[in-house]
């Protein structure tokens, strides 16, 4: 094979340096950031997936005092947006700093304006980009090149890395080449596939890095900097006489750039032995068929070429590394002279373009080469699209491309990796084609998000990669849910370097860490014949076989799998590990997979435990050791009886009553087989049906609430608090109980308003996530046994079947007439939720507000949703939680961007108002035909309450009837000044008639949006005075991207990008909004005062102007058991940490202050609140004195704000008595075990 393959990796490394280098296992983000941090002084960051970890690593390293290679600690600054980060780095480099930033996708787009400037000013600078899909018909966090391609015109040089090692190496080359060329570099690698792949690489030492950088170039950069000591002016405005020539003045730098990069690459090769070129050719020397590509796909192509070439196929690949400036000559030189057919692959889609970007470059290069006489004939070139949004790209697909190139006229503008049954662009590929060598061990693990499976696997890779001669690779696939999320870990180990950036297709080891996966999913699909299977089973070795579903048994029998079981949860509990099974399952893996000798593996696990937890306490280490030892004695092999004996079938993926689309599309996606869906399965514009979450039945709760109707006081607080709409209340006529299941509970409704009705509180057993918020807000205790409440948690399994039937019956009971309900806490919870069973975290503090919104206004709401948690649980496929009522009405929901949500929502309002205005105009024009009375009623309708809304809906029905008559009955009479016929006018009115019913426009998002990136727009929308309702779900961090600080983060809290605790107090967004005087503003916390929350929503909706509700949302990023969320909200309010108020400008007219305070002066010290949350405890534990000072500032801030609000509310604040700090704790700081559910 080596005789025919060209693969330039043969330089001899400089011996001494090579010896000092370590082999490390890390992911692409860390690999790139490691170089960037060591070569920068000013790093400006903003979180965006999948690049956030680069900023996080940099922040942590600097917080730990890690210096760059010149001995100074890089300064890390988080900005309010990527636009801000780009502006800040632009300033930093103009002032002579070595600077970097990290971003992706829309974030990169926000940097483009500054990128033009930075390049135009010829400033050395490198940004590292995890290439990610741009949001089009939908958002995607995964990888392709659509974002980086959008920068190809900015003047940045663009260098592409294809693997984790390359992300490290080319990061280095980018920094060095930028300094030398003065051209700024965009260094990119594939989002997730490279950024999140964990691999074993050789790490560059500080000496390596220093030797690659000429300090004279840094000095030159500093000399060019703006300085009053040798001033220059940049950023002038130029006119037609000058601009054009001045723009051309940089040409020589671009001409020189490829040569400089080549030079740096050569220097790097001498240093490390790893040789890179601007265009690297690999493949047969006389290749006839050649693929041209960029990114991780090249690894797969190369792997496939090696396989095919060994079989005599004349195939090859050109890896484009320096994409800009595109060196046309270099490209043509790299192409084998024998190449007759070329397929250029692009990982993007540019609809309407003559071809995708790289294709156009290649065609241009070849055309120009022929024009210049460098080549005689232009080979046949076709363009193909692959891998959008991290779509799998496998050796089989590569083979299908080479096969296609054999055809006389290969398909152009093809796609590969999907089935396009609409425009037939796709190539077919052979699903069975497999080239993975046998000496690479492959293991797949199915885990739950919260069970630590991924962390343990990352650790296993580290053990194998760093403690043995083996190479290792890990890649992790997550599902779209936040509660009960499944993770699939794909691990490869072997004696040779691994270049397989695609998911494992057959594995010798499959571990299923959660039993429930067996109930629905085809988790043994990837097990190859004779593979070892490890199950975490609550059933003992003797019973487990009979509990396996038929489908699973069949696979085990057919493939002759070796089955092992362990009851990991019991082992975890017995050894004091709580519910964490990660160490136990990891031990099992090493014990039975044979990757390492068992004893050696156990020793390595223990070594690793010591490394991880050593400085966190010996007790933790000992507990983990005990878990390891205990594991081995509880791991059993189950005899494979060789025949199927089970009587249990797997559960269907979606319920039988699901609509066709849910079954055929969403169900396939839920079964992890979405890749098989053809193009025709999907709507053309990204629209998606509502309300499919209800067919999923995830069954993730081990315990669910059980109602004791005898002591329940029917307050509905549980339903109000439920984040998943999984506990609901209804009132109904007794007669409707006919046909109720035997265990269906019902009792007389107690309050006088619906005397004679029956009341039921019903749990959705298969949708409940078991978060216990309902239990914790239930105010009723059994007088004889106060431990028993009106709802208690009970094991779900025994209740599932009966409660499923009860819930079905419950749902069929009619909903009460909305107009008859008093919309307080209780009444609001009789309204049907139009947001249900979302994938939000169990115990989420945001979704109760969203659900309330949907109950109160969902049937006439338009929701503009900022990107973030709420857009993910609100709209991440496959299933959707927003749903419709019996009339087919429900929230119209859309996510535009992160930064523009307020403006997007304002757009809704503008359109709705215009529609209504137009409808009014048409009504007036047609008044004589419709009837004056109806027209007047429609225009002047009082729609301030549900009855008014319902009456108006009736009028619209009436109107439509009349319009139908006019439409059909009309002659050609022309009405009005617009030359329209009566019929035309009627049709126009018909289209907009629904807007005669009041619409409620909601702008929903998190604090990252409202306080930071979207604040400019938010401010403008509030100032506009338009009738929009803004709901800020304030978790005080960027929750969705992993807890980075925002301006809503409180002082003293640790957050990402504020590792040592935030030093500034929280921004008072409410006060800013109040300063306009025209906005309704409320600060609410449903756990503290649900009555006030419900009131605020109603006042916000009724206020004819901008309304802002800032809603306290407890979050997993706060670090405590969210079952205690409502209780912690109470403490937040009592300590003054989260004061409750409503600021209603309408009150001024009646002589009252606009401000109403809904919580009293702080009753206890803020530390009563902070002591319960890990985010604060971490900071206190790091430095108690510093934390104390922070809490003193926090206390002053709380007091000052309360005094201000009180004075605004016209209250005379009583002279404040000093509140003592929280009951002093041991100077250990912690005291968490006395907290509100903090444990």
């Amino acid at each position: 094979m080596s005789a025919t393959i060209t693969a330039p990796k043969t330089d001899t490394p400089a011996g001494n340096l090579a010896k000092a280098r370590r082999m490390v296992t890390l992911d692409g983000n860390e690999a790139a950031a490691s170089v960037a941090h060591r070569l920068s002084e000013v790093i400006c960051i903003y979180p965006i997936t999948p690049s956030s970890p680069m900023g996080e690593f940099s922040d942590e390293w600097s917080a730990k005092g890690k210096t760059n290679v010149f001995g100074t600690i890089p300064q890390i600054t988080e900005l309010q947006s990527e636009a801000g980060a780009a502006g800040a780095v632009h300033g930093a480099i103009q002032a002579g700093s070595l600077s970097t930033t990290f971003t992706a996708s829309q974030g990169l787009l926000l940097m483009i304006p500054n990128m033009y400037k930075i390049a135009g000013e010829l400033t050395p600078f490198v940004m590292h980009v995890t290439a990610r899909t741009l949001a089009t018909h939908a958002l995607s966090i995964f990888g392709d090149h659509s974002d980086v391609y959008a920068c190809r015109q900015t003047g940045f040089a663009m260098l592409c890395s294809n693997s984790v090692q390359e992300a490290h190496d080319l990061a280095m080359i980018s920094h060095a080449a930028s300094l030398e060329s003065r051209i700024p570099f965009l260094h990119f690698f594939d989002g997730f596939r490279t950024s999140h792949e964990v691999a074993k690489i050789e790490e560059l030492t500080d000496d390596d890095i220093r030797s690659m950088v000429d300090e004279k170039l840094i000095a030159a950069h500093r000399r060019r900097a703006l300085s009053p000591d040798h001033p220059q002016i940049r950023g002038t405005a130029q006119n037609p006489d000058a601009f054009f020539q001045a723009r051309e003045a940089c040409n020589r730098y671009y001409d020189a750039c490829p040569g400089i990069v080549k030079g740096v690459m050569d220097k790097f090769a001498l240093l490390t032995g790893r040789r890179y070129g601007l265009f690297d050719y690999v493949g047969h020397r006389d290749a006839e068929r050649v693929i041209v590509a960029m990114g991780s796909g090249c690894e797969t192509i190369q792997e496939t070429i090696e396989y095919l070439a060994a079989k005599g196929e004349k195939v090859g690949l050109i890896k484009v590394r320096l994409y800009r400036p595109f060196d046309c000559k270099g490209f043509v030189d790299a192409l084998p002279k024998t190449a007759a057919r070329i397929a250029v692959l692009d990982r993007t889609k540019e609809p309407g373009a003559p071809g995708d970007p790289l294709y156009l470059d290649v065609v241009t290069a070849l055309f120009e080469a022929r024009t210049a006489g460098a080549i005689k004939d232009i080979p046949s070139v076709v363009n193909g699209r692959y891998g959008l949004s991290s779509k799998e790209f496998t050796p089989s697909m590569v083979k299908s491309i080479f096969d296609e190139l054999k055809n006389a006229s290969p398909k152009n503008h093809f796609t590969v990796g999907i089935v396009d049954d609409v425009t037939y662009t796709s190539l077919k590929w052979d699903m069975e084609f497999d080239i993975e060598p046998d000496d690479v061990k492959r293991a797949v693990f199915y885990g739950l998000g919260a069970d630590g499976t991924v962390g343990a696997n990352k650790n296993s890779i580290k053990i194998i990669g760093e403690e043995t001669e083996n190479w290792a690779q890990g890649y992790f696939v997550y599902d779209s849910k936040k509660s009960g999320a499944m993770t699939i870990s794909h691990l490869r180990f072997g004696p040779r370097e691994i270049h397989s950036p695609y998911l494992i297709r057959t594995a010798g080891f499959v571990a299923v860490h959660q039993w429930q996966f067996l109930e629905k999913l085809d988790v043994l699909e990837l097990a190859k014949p004779g593979a070892t299977v490890l199950l975490n089973s609550p059933f003992g070795v003797d019973k487990v076989w009979d509990r396996l579903p038929i489908e699973i048994q069949q696979v085990i029998v057919d493939k002759k799998l070796k089955l092992y079981v362990i009851d990991a949860l019991t082992v975890a509990r017995d050894t004091g590990m709580g519910g964490r099974i990660n160490t136990i399952m990891q031990t099992c893996f090493f014990a039975i997979s044979g990757v390492l000798p068992r004893d050696e593996a156990i020793e390595q696990i223990k070594k690793s435990i010591k490394k991880t937890y050593g400085r966190k306490g010996d007790e933790i280490v000992q507990k983990n050791f005990a878990a390891v030892d205990h594991t081995l004695s509880h791991l059993y092999e189950v005899k494979n009886p060789g025949k199927v004996t089970s009587t249990i079938h797997q559960e269907p993926i979606v319920t039988g009553d699901a609509p066709d689309f849910v079954k055929k599309v969403e169900g396939v996606m839920l079964a992890n087989k979405g890749d098989l869906l053809p193009v025709s399965a999907f709507p053309v514009d990204g629209s998606w049906p509502l309300g499919s979450a209800r067919y999923e039945k995830r069954n993730i709760a081990t315990e669910i609430p059980v109602w004791d109707e005898a002591i329940c006081i029917q307050c509905n607080k549980c339903a109000m608090a439920c984040p998943h709409a999984a506990i609901r209340a209804k009132i109904y006529d007794p007669g409707q109980l006919a046909g109720a299941p035997g265990t269906f509970k019902s009792i007389d409704y107690k309050a006088p308003d619906f005397k004679g009705k029956k009341y039921t509180l019903q749990v959705a057993p298969e949708d409940c996530t078991g978060c216990e918020l309902c239990i914790n807000v239930c105010p009723v205790k059994d007088k004889t046994n106060p431990r028993h409440k009106a709802i208690d948690m009970m094991p779900q399994m025994p209740l599932r079947a009966a409660e499923r039937e009860n819930y079905d019956f419950f749902l069929k009971l009619p909903n009460p007439d909305r107009t008859t309900l008093k919309l307080d806490v209780k009444g609001s919870q009789f309204l049907e939720p139009l947001f249900e069973y979302s994938g939000a975290c169990s115990g989420c503090g945001e979704t109760p507000y969203v659900k309330l919104l949907s109950q109160l206004y969902g049937d006439r709401a338009l929701i503009a949703n900022a990107t973030g948690c709420s857009s993910i649980y609100g709209g991440n496929l496959p299933t959707t939680p927003y749903c419709t009522n019996g009339d087919g009405r429900g929230p119209a929901w859309c996510n535009s961007l992160f930064e523009d949500n307020a403006e997007f929502g304002l757009g809704f309002r503008l359109a709705v108002d215009k529609h209504q205005e137009f409808a009014h105009e048409l009504l007036k024009l047609l008044a004589t035909f419709i009837g004056e009375d109806l027209v007047t009623a429609l225009i002047t309708a009082d729609q301030t309450n549900e009855a008014g809304i319902q009456a108006q809906r009736g009028r619209v029905v009436e109107l439509r009837k009349k319009l139908r008559l006019i439409e059909t009955d009309s002659n050609a009479a022309i009405i009005g000044a617009h030359n329209s016929t009566l019929s035309q006018l009627a049709k126009r009115l018909d289209v907009v008639a629904d807007y005669l019913v009041k619409k409620s426009v909601w702008i929903v998002g998190g604090d990252g949006w409202a306080y930071d990136i979207g604040f400019g727009g938010l401010d403008h929308v509030i100032a506009s005075g338009r009738n929009v309702n803004i709901l800020v779900l304030d978790t005080e961090v960027y929750s969705n991207t992993g807890g980075q600080q925002s301006k809503a983060t409180p002082i003293g809290a640790a957050a990402k990008f504020a590792a040592a605790g935030k030093t500034m107090t929280k921004k008072d967004l409410g006060l800013i909004a109040m300063s306009y005087g025209n906005a309704y503003v409320a600060k609410v916390a449903f756990g503290a005062k649900d009555v006030q929350t419900v009131k605020a929503f109603q006042e916000a909706d009724s206020y004819d102007g901008p309304s802002l509700i800032i809603a306290y949302s407890h979050c997993i990023a706060h670090g405590y058991d969210l079952a205690g969320g409502p209780e912690q909200q109470k403490v937040a309010v009592e300590t003054g940490y989260w004061p409750l108020y409503r600021y209603d400008p309408r009150r001024v007219a009646s002589g009252h202050p606009a401000m109403q305070l809904d919580s009293s002066a702080p009753k206890s010290h803020v530390t009563q609140f902070t002591k319960n949350e890990t985010r604060f405890r971490m900071v206190e534990q790091q430095n108690p004195e510093r934390f104390k000072q922070m809490m003193e500032i926090a206390t002053k801030d709380i007091d000052a704000r309360y005094a201000l609000y009180a004075s605004m509310a016209g209250l005379t604040a009583a002279p404040k008595e000093a509140i003592p700090a929280a009951t002093p704790k041991p100077s250990t700081g912690g005291n968490g075990n006395s907290g509100n559910g903090a444990h």
């Binding site: 998000g449 250990t1228 968490g1232």
Partner: protein, 337 residues
């Protein structure tokens, strides 16, 4: 006038010291206590639970959702200096040692002889002059015998004793059925002293909300009496150092406890009520009283009223119970039995 006393092998300028409490949490307060004449500083108890659960809880909450979703590597930064609870305690101990010249006595509250005992070693390494072992254990298991409960105390002491060379004293509750025997066993197992007694913070009941609520009440001089009795009994029988803790509010209280055999008098509630200066008041008044009553040294009156030396030892035993009851009933005008 010499108030010098020997306690746990330490020679102290006086028996007066703050008891284990939040008083020593603040360095400034520690300095003020020394200025007021405190002869030693006793730190607040570090609970065994904190040694594991605190660390575990923090790690648990930090790791719980790490690597759960595609967009999130973890939810918390990983700081370089993660000084979990116990390390902070050690750091505080070092700070107190740096701030005062008097001996510093650390305190651990544990009920099992688990891995946390190693922490006693670290306390010693951090410079503690002695260690109080606060055994705060409430048996609720109906199968656990009183002998087993006492053995638990001895086991914990033995484990700690094996781990350190500094003096170790044991803080007990008075609800043991055979305190003198337990004291003997503890002495045999290597204890250097006893502190009489632990004050259990008793939980209260919220009738309205049907909840158990923790209630912290400061002590009163009333609580002294049970200490006096047991100081008298034990000081007559044991070579262990004895400290009186709980109920000393005035110089009179202090003098009584010394007369009953206390080598050290630990003050908490009165200092919380009146400030650190109250220690000086008690100390000065004690000296004054001794002077007025012709005592040249503390030694002279230490234990002069204990079971072996007092004129009427039966008063500390059962007979006294009868008398006390009678004295209580008389004011109510009820007939004596």
């Amino acid at each position: 006038m010499s108030l010098i006393t020997h306690y746990l092998g330490l020679t102290l300028s006086s028996p007066f010291m703050p008891g284990s409490s939040p008083l020593a949490d603040d360095i400034d307060m520690v300095r003020r206590l020394e200025d007021a004449g405190a002869s030693a500083i006793v730190m607040r108890s570090l609970f065994e639970e904190q040694l594991f659960r605190e660390r575990y809880a923090t790690i648990y909450h930090m790791e719980m959702y790490a690597d759960s979703f595609a967009e999130v590597r973890s939810y918390f930064p990983e700081p370089s200096e993660f000084s979990f609870g116990p390390e902070a305690y050690l750091e505080h101990l070092r700070k107190i040692k740096g701030a005062v010249a008097v001996p510093v006595i650390a305190s651990i509250n544990g009920t099992t002889s688990g891995g946390w005992v190693k922490f006693a070693e670290l306390i010693q390494q951090a410079g503690a002059d002695a260690l109080e072992l606060n055994i705060y254990y409430l048996p609720t298991d109906p199968t656990e015998t009183s002998a087993a409960v006492e053995q638990r105390v001895v086991d914990v002491l033995s484990a700690v004793r094996a781990a350190v060379t500094i003096p170790v004293s044991v803080k007990l509750s008075y609800s043991y059925s055979a305190l003198p025997s337990l004291a003997g066993q503890l002495q045999q197992a290597g204890a250097d002293g006893l502190i009489l007694f632990n004050r259990f913070y008793q939980p209260d009941i919220d009738m309205e909300n049907l909840e158990v609520v923790p209630r912290i009440n400061l002590s009163t001089s009333q609580e002294l009496l049970v200490r006096l009795r047991w100081l008298s009994i034990l000081s007559a029988q044991t070579q262990l150092s004895l400290a009186c803790s709980g109920g000393v509010h005035t110089a009179d209280d202090a003098i009584k406890s010394i007369m009953c055999g206390a080598h050290a008098v630990q003050l908490v509630s009165c200092l919380l009520r009146h400030g650190p200066g109250h220690l000086k008041t008690i100390k000065d008044e004690t000296a004054k009283w001794m002077d007025e009553h012709g005592y040249a040294s503390l030694r002279q009156m230490q234990g002069n009223m204990n079971l072996s030396r007092c004129p009427d030892p039966t008063a500390f035993e059962r007979a006294n119970y009868m008398r006390t009851l009678q004295s209580w009933r008389d004011p109510l005008g009820m007939k004596t039995l």
